[in-house]
């Protein structure tokens, strides 16, 4: 039972990290990118590639995975967001990020193979540790570090305040001399770096698997929608709740209905509280 709870916390931490990455991009661009889960997938796959195929030590591989994530985040902004946001059709960004996500998933599938490959051990620890095993505490520690770091960044640094200004009102921020385009690009790079970190930390839990991206895109989004769009606390709570809910349901009813249960949770929350648990009620139809 304890194992169930801890593994739920760990997988929930990964969902929460994906939700955080969504939030970072959403705050500056008002775009929910379909590629969010694929960033984490790239972190895991490239981490395994650096360590297994190239034989690099774990810290170097971590830096490499984070850099790959950041590069992919930036690439998403440059290719799929920048040009599309210039036009004012609200659906186009969904299509362009979906297209990019499909391409990345297929490219990784062709290059890396469609079978999940094991992710190497990061710390020296034998397999008898049970619930204290590194595959559980690594993602949890990573997401806690991410959340604290983001909080510090938003509250204490100049750039964080610039981010908040852009997220509150992009036009006003622009009028005050903030380069909103550059801020947006930077936010995508940061989201990519954090997503890469999360994917790397959770690699032993999820394996290096090319189809992970789409699942994470969905679950990260569910975590975020349950917790409330735009709220980091909401992403954490939603992610952990979703992870616990899923593993408990698997423990009680068997593993065949994971997605059904996750979506059921989403639907219930959306019907009862459409803006999510911690979301702000900002409806502006016109």
């Amino acid at each position: 039972m304890l194992t169930v709870l801890v593994s739920g916390l760990a997988i929930g931490a990964l969902y929460a990290a994906t939700g955080l990455a969504y939030n970072i991009m959403f705050s500056t661009s008002k775009v929910l990118s379909v590629t969010t889960g694929h960033i984490c997938m790239l972190g895991g796959v490239f981490g395994a590639y650096f360590m297994l195929d190239l034989g690099l030590p774990a810290p170097v591989a971590l830096v490499g995975a984070v850099l790959v994530g950041a590069a992919f985040g930036l690439l998403t902004e440059v290719i799929a967001i920048r040009r599309v946001l210039a036009r004012s059709d609200e659906h186009l960004w969904l299509l362009s990020t979906l297209a990019l996500a499909t391409m990345v998933q297929q490219a990784v599938g062709l290059w890396w193979g469609t079978e999940p490959r094991p992710f190497p051990r990061l710390a020296d620890q034998d397999f008898t540790a049970g619930v204290l095993d590194q595959k559980y505490w690594l993602p949890i520690a990573a997401v806690v570090a991410m959340a604290l770091g983001l909080e510090f960044f938003y509250r204490r640094t100049m750039y964080g305040k610039v981010f908040q200004a852009v997220s509150e009102d992009a036009f006003a921020a622009r009028a005050r001399g903030i380069a909103t385009d550059r801020t947006r690009a930077l936010s995508f790079a940061i989201a990519g770096a954090l997503g890469g970190l999360a994917g790397f930390a959770a690699g032993q839990l999820t394996f290096a698997f090319f189809a992970l991206g789409l699942t994470l895109t969905l679950y990260g989004f569910i975590a975020l929608a349950v917790g409330g769009l735009g709220s980091n606390v909401g992403a954490l709570v939603g992610g952990v709740a979703l992870g616990l809910f899923q593993t408990l349901a698997t423990y009680l009813f068997g593993g065949e209905y994971q997605q059904t249960i996750a979506v059921g949770l989403l639907m219930v929350v959306l019907l009862v509280k459409p803006e999510g648990l911690f979301g702000s009620k900002k409806v502006r139809p016109v």
Binding site: S96, Q106, Q259
Partner: protein, 344 residues
Amino acid sequence: MTTSSLPRLGTLAVGGILAVTLPFWVGDFYQLHLAALIGVYWVLISGLNLVVGYTGQLSIGHVGLLSIGSYAFAILVGRYGVDPLLTLALAGGLGGLCGFLLGLPSLRLPGFYFAMATMAFALIMAELSLAQGDLTGGGAGLPVPGFAAPFDTPTGFYWLVLLVAALITWMTWNVARLMWGRGLIALRDSEVAAAAVGVPIFRLKLTVFTFSGVTAGIGGALFASLQSYITPETFVFELGLFFFVCIIIGGRGSILGPFVGTVVLTALPEMVAPLAKLGNFFYGLLLLAVVLVVPEGIGHVIKSVMARLQKKGPEPKGLQPDIGRLAAAVRRGMRQDIQRGHAS
């Protein structure tokens, strides 16, 4: 309208004759199979086109509805021996019901939420078809019987598909060009404006989505019969993405564009072997290129190129100014100005 309808009718007639006689001039059975596959896809896509192309609801998970139709057909005909043609109608009804139930909560959600809900639906359907082993055969799959006497040959089946596809295209065309279609387009372009002029937004969305569920169910039944064996692997999420890409690439708000998109995207990977290996990468690249370069779709590009070739442009209004009246009016105005000048 009257000047352009005659050549258009001619094109339609030629296309119809070509489509009907296709089994006689096509090279081999494989190409006939491909043509039937295009027809089956089109049955689903023409319904989906009303949802995606006209109403602007981005449903990327119609493959879930397709699988419902397929499994319904396989189970009812294969296990219980129900008449295939009756089952075709039943599959449509079941697809419509599931579309209605899916649309009821999810159509209230805004864009991205709706897309995610339909995607989740497709994943759930894949999960359920694996989990409910006694009903669907689980991972091993189910064999699917063919249709009865006149439609049991490849040629006969092709004609059946053609008939259904033509019928559904005609229905969607009727929806699209009359008041309904106007309402849908208004809804797509601005929900608030549409609501303000009295378009019943939610009911319209739900009706169209239910209709697309019906076509998806019928398409699924035909699809299953064409494939002759279905497993959960047949209905991967990427297939739903493929339907969606066909419409976006063809162009939103038209019927011909998505049709061309369906034909090209189905046939191209089969004809050009390297593209088949790239598969989804190719579709993604195409989607990205279309979104970035021509968001209106390729159908729109063809239309504008045709218009430029014909040098038609907007017709000159043919309004001759009445010089005498104009001069009189100008003179009167000047006189008034002068008088006003005197008064002040």
